[in-house]
C-alpha cells in the first residue's frame, strides 16, 4: 500500500469518499474515519517521522502531544496533504479516509483539503472583511445557496456570530486574537469538512479565549472529527478522547526521527500511561 511518490500536481477532482459513508452517520461515533498505517514522512532524504500507525475516530477529538520537533505538525499536515507543496516532502505508508488512500494517484489534494480542513497556530485571517473571510472558501468551492446564510451558520457554529453580526463588513484584522482564531475556525467549517485539523490553535490566546475554543471543539464533535496538536497537556486532557504521544528518537546513525510512542484513551494516558517515555514526558521528568 506504500505510495512513495511525491504528490504536488493538481489532479482531476474525484469524490473523496464513496457514497454512503459521509459524515452524517453510516458509521457510529468512535469508528475510525481516518487511519494511518506505517506512515513515514520525509523532507528530502530526512525521515522526519517514522512508521506511525493510528486511527482517527469519528466525532471525537484526537490530541497529539510530544516535545518540540517530534513531528506532530508533520503528521498533522500529512492528514490533509498540506506537506505536498513543501519541496521534497514525501509520505510513505497509507493515510486513508473512509478507507480510501489519500495519496492514491487519482486523488486531488484540493478536494482532500476541502474534506479535511486545517486551523493554524497563529490566527491568519485574510486582510478582508469578516464576511469575506468566511465567504472565501464558499466562493472558491462554488458552494450553492445563499452566501449570507452559510456565513451566518458558520459564524454561529464557531461561537462568533453574536460578537460580529453588526460588523460583518469590517476588517477581520480588527478582531482580537481569540476572535480571529474563531473566525479562522468559521472559515474552515464553512465549507463543511468532515475533519478539522488544528495545530496549537490556542497557543496565542488568553485563558478566556482558550476556554471558548475548547468549548467549541467539544461542541463541534457533534458534526466534525477533530485532530489537535497541543503543547498544553491539560488542554489535551480536557478536550480529547484519545491522545497520541510522539517523541523524537535518535537512531544508530545519530539521526533524530519522530515516533509515535503511545496512542491511548486520554484518561488512561494521563493516569496510567503504558510506556515509560510517556510517563516521563507528561510528568515533566525529561532531560
Amino acid at each position: 500500500m506504500a505510495s512513495n511518490d511525491t504528490h504536488t500536481t493538481t489532479r482531476p477532482s474525484v469524490a473523496i469518499h464513496p457514497a454512503g459513508t459521509t459524515a452524517s452517520g453510516t458509521e457510529p461515533a468512535g469508528a475510525p474515519v481516518m487511519q494511518l498505517r506505517d506512515v513515514s514522512v520525509y523532507y528530502g532524504s530526512y525521515e522526519a517521522v517514522r512508521g506511525t500507525t493510528m486511527p482517527i475516530q469519528q466525532n471525537q477529538v484526537t490530541a497529539m502531544i510530544g516535545p518540540s520537533g517530534c513531528g506532530k505538525s508533520t503528521v498533522l499536515r500529512a492528514l490533509n496533504r498540506m506537506n505536498d507543496p513543501i519541496p521534497g516532502a514525501r509520505v510513505s505508508g497509507e493515510v486513508s479516509f473512509h478507507g480510501q488512500d489519500l495519496y492514491a494517484r487519482d486523488v486531488d489534494p484540493i478536494q482532500v483539503r476541502r474534506h479535511i480542513g486545517m486551523v493554524f497556530q497563529k490566527p491568519n485571517p485574510f486582510p478582508k472583511s469578516i464576511f469575506d473571510n468566511v465567504a472565501y472558501g464558499l466562493r472558491i468551492n462554488g458552494i450553492k445557496g445563499r452566501l449570507d446564510d452559510h456565513v451566518e451558520e458558520a459564524l454561529t457554529q464557531a461561537a462568533l456570530w453574536d460578537e460580529v453580526k453588526d460588523k460583518l463588513r469590517k476588517s477581520a484584522l480588527a478582531l482580537s486574537g481569540g476572535q480571529q482564531q474563531r473566525l479562522c475556525i468559521a472559515r474552515t467549517i464553512a465549507v463543511k469538512p468532515e475533519v478539522i485539523l488544528m495545530d496549537e490553535p490556542c497557543s496565542a490566546l488568553d485563558p478566556i479565549a482558550t476556554a471558548k475554543i475548547e468549548d467549541l471543539m467539544v461542541e463541534l464533535t457533534n458534526d466534525y472529527t477533530i485532530v489537535i496538536v497541543t503543547h498544553n497537556m491539560q488542554q489535551a486532557a480536557r478536550v480529547s478522547h484519545h491522545t497520541a504521544f510522539f517523541t523524537a528518537e535518535v537512531d544508530e546513525q545519530q539521526v533524530r526521527h519522530g515516533r509515535l510512542v503511545e496512542f491511548s484513551q486520554t484518561g488512561k494516558l494521563f493516569t496510567n500511561p503504558a510506556d515509560k517515555r510517556t510517563e516521563d514526558y507528561i510528568t515533566g521528568r525529561f532531560g
Binding site: F270, T271, T278, E279, T283, R285
Partner: protein, 214 residues
C-alpha cells in the same frame, strides 16, 4: 527546577505516610500490651498518642490540594496523591481502632479484659495486626507488590481468629455477657485494623501498577 519542587512536596507527603504507618504500628502494640497486662499507663499512652496521627493526617490533607493546584500531577504522581489521601485516612483509622481497644482496657481497669480461654486466640490477632502494620510500613517504603499481596494472608489469619473467638463467646461463655461484649468488640477492632492495613497495601499496589486488584 519546578519539577524538583514537586518532587520535594511528594517526598514530604510520602514521609508523612511513613511516619503515620510507624505510629499506627506503635499504637496497636501499645494497645495490645495494655490489653494483655491490664496496664493502665500503657492504655493512657495510646489514647494520648492518637493526636499525633490526627495531626499527620491533617497535614497530608492540607498538602494534597496544594500539590494538585500547583503541579497538576498526572500518571504515577497523580496516583500517589490520590492514594495518599486514602492511605492517610486508613492509617488514621488504624490509630483510632487502637484507641478503642485501649479504652475498653481503661473502662474495666483494674479488672482485666482477657480471660485465659481467650488469651491464645486474641494474641494471635494482636500479633497478626502488629505484623501487618509493620508490613504496611515496609510496603509504603519499598512499594514492593509481593509484600503487599502477603498482607492478604495475614488478614485471613485475623478473620479466622475472630471467628474462633466469637464461637467461644456464644457457646457457654462463663464470664458473663459484659465480658463477651468487650471481647467481641476488641476482636472486631483488631479485624477492622487489619482490613485498613490491607487497604494501605492495596493502595500501594494501585499506586505502582495503576490497576486495582481485589
Amino acid at each position: 527546577m519546578v519539577r524538583d519542587i514537586q518532587d520535594e512536596q511528594l517526598d514530604r507527603l510520602t514521609g508523612v505516610l511513613a511516619a503515620m504507618s510507624r505510629e499506627a504500628a506503635a499504637a496497636i502494640r501499645g494497645a495490645s500490651a495494655a490489653l494483655f497486662d491490664a496496664d493502665r499507663a500503657a492504655a493512657e499512652a495510646v489514647v494520648a498518642g492518637d493526636v499525633v496521627l490526627d495531626r499527620y493526617r491533617a497535614e497530608a490533607e492540607a498538602m494534597i490540594p496544594e500539590v494538585l493546584v500547583r503541579h497538576q500531577p498526572v500518571a504515577s504522581d497523580l496516583r500517589l496523591v490520590v492514594c495518599a489521601l486514602r492511605i492517610a485516612a486508613s492509617l488514621e483509622r488504624m490509630g483510632d481502632l487502637a484507641v478503642h481497644i485501649a479504652k475498653v482496657v481503661l473502662m474495666r481497669h483494674p479488672v482485666g479484659v482477657v480471660p485465659q480461654q481467650a488469651a491464645a486466640v486474641l494474641s494471635t490477632m494482636a500479633d497478626a495486626a502488629a505484623r501487618m502494620a509493620d508490613k504496611a510500613a515496609v510496603v509504603l517504603a519499598t512499594r514492593d507488590q509481593v509484600d503487599a499481596t502477603q498482607l492478604g494472608l495475614d488478614d485471613d489469619e485475623v478473620d479466622a481468629a475472630e471467628k474462633r473467638l466469637l464461637s467461644l463467646l456464644v457457646s457457654g461463655w462463663p464470664y458473663g455477657v459484659e465480658s463477651a461484649i468487650d471481647l467481641a468488640l476488641v476482636a472486631r477492632y483488631y479485624e477492622r485494623y487489619a482490613d485498613h492495613a490491607v487497604n494501605v497495601a492495596r493502595q500501594v499496589v494501585f499506586l505502582v501498577t495503576g490497576t486495582i486488584r481485589l
